[in-house]
Symmetry: C2
Subunit: 203 residues, 2 copies
Amino acid sequence: MTEVLPPRRKRDGTLKTSLIDAGVDLLRKRGADGLSLRECAAMAGVSHAAPGYHFKNIMGLSTAIAARGYKLFSEAMTTRLDNAGPSDADRLAAICHGYMDYASSHPELFLFIFSGQKFNEADDEFRLYSAKAYSILRETCAPLVPENTPCEEIEVLVWSLVHGYAQLSMTRKKDNPQLNRTWPAFDSLLKHLNRALFAASAN
Amino acid sequence: MTEVLPPRRKRDGTLKTSLIDAGVDLLRKRGADGLSLRECAAMAGVSHAAPGYHFKNIMGLSTAIAARGYKLFSEAMTTRLDNAGPSDADRLAAICHGYMDYASSHPELFLFIFSGQKFNEADDEFRLYSAKAYSILRETCAPLVPENTPCEEIEVLVWSLVHGYAQLSMTRKKDNPQLNRTWPAFDSLLKHLNRALFAASAN
DNA sequence: TGTACATCAGTGAACGCGCGTTCACTGATGTAC
DNA sequence: TGTACATCAGTGAACGCGCGTTCACTGATGTAC
């Protein structure tokens, strides 16, 4: 006759992280519409009001999830760079591959941070990690910038190509099923990018 | 003392279109989260149950809006193509500019169709217009494909670059405010793309 | 042209649901002495 | 080591809200004769 109470979560300082984990999970399972404070709380094993203590409101949670997204994004590129060859082309390929790694291992976060959804741009973590991602790109592109060319031109060229490829890889299924069999690998696009950037060298 | 009733909408066969118009409006004003059958009904001046008659459910409305998005997308490219010069490079530039026209005049639809959200892929209009957009790309790219190269490689190269640029143009503000002053025009990226595609010609 | 009838297009009430947020509260943890 | 107290971290009930969907209905429109 004794009631079985749900196991109460031990207080160990990890709840905030667990709530973000739960949010990422929800995003993956149900898309951006399915994200809610109450569901995250349930997944983390706490009452529905607990998230209010760690995040001021729903935007606080969204922003924390986006910050996590940017953090993983930067880490994916850094990991590839750490294992890259020394040439400029090697390093360029490395950040592109890191970008693709991220998009394919965390499609839900990739879509979320580029969804156009509003985040709290005053949040410190959010600012830190979103700036980090861009600075990795900037530093890797710097040696590739020709004389008399603004560096943004090369950065945005590279960023656009890799970003567009990643996004289209994710949404192509519904657009045009026949493409699934013949979808080119990113390296084949990279070959063309190299031709544009390293016009003098043989390829 | 006579009550002022809301003006009842005249029955003229345009409600379905008006509901889609309202949906696009909502998307622009409140983002993808703000879309709802009830709000569209209110904006179109009918009862909240009226949309149920024209769209089976909320996905029916989403899909109709996405179909509208693809239709406008194709039209933007076609308009530019109709006014383009005859060379392959002119036509390539034309679809790129059409793509950018679309993204800047209908950012809400652009983000919506590429949001990763699920649509009813069995819907005839949806299939028609989403296939149309890709076939315009394919036809324009066909003359640019080198010997021994799969055409998808060039299509995806072009598509990725222009898509990534459009998307990043929309979300850059929150990522890196300093970029706002130095954001390169698409034509400067197109110059590099031309160098990769028309390697033999002077540029 | 008039009339009877069928179908179409939309109504309005009702349903249950999950949500964000607030608030008084409580029990666990940390700290000062 | 013990005790008193403050603060922290989370609880659970309550609130009002907007939502999608269903359903019996009605009034307008179209059609056959």
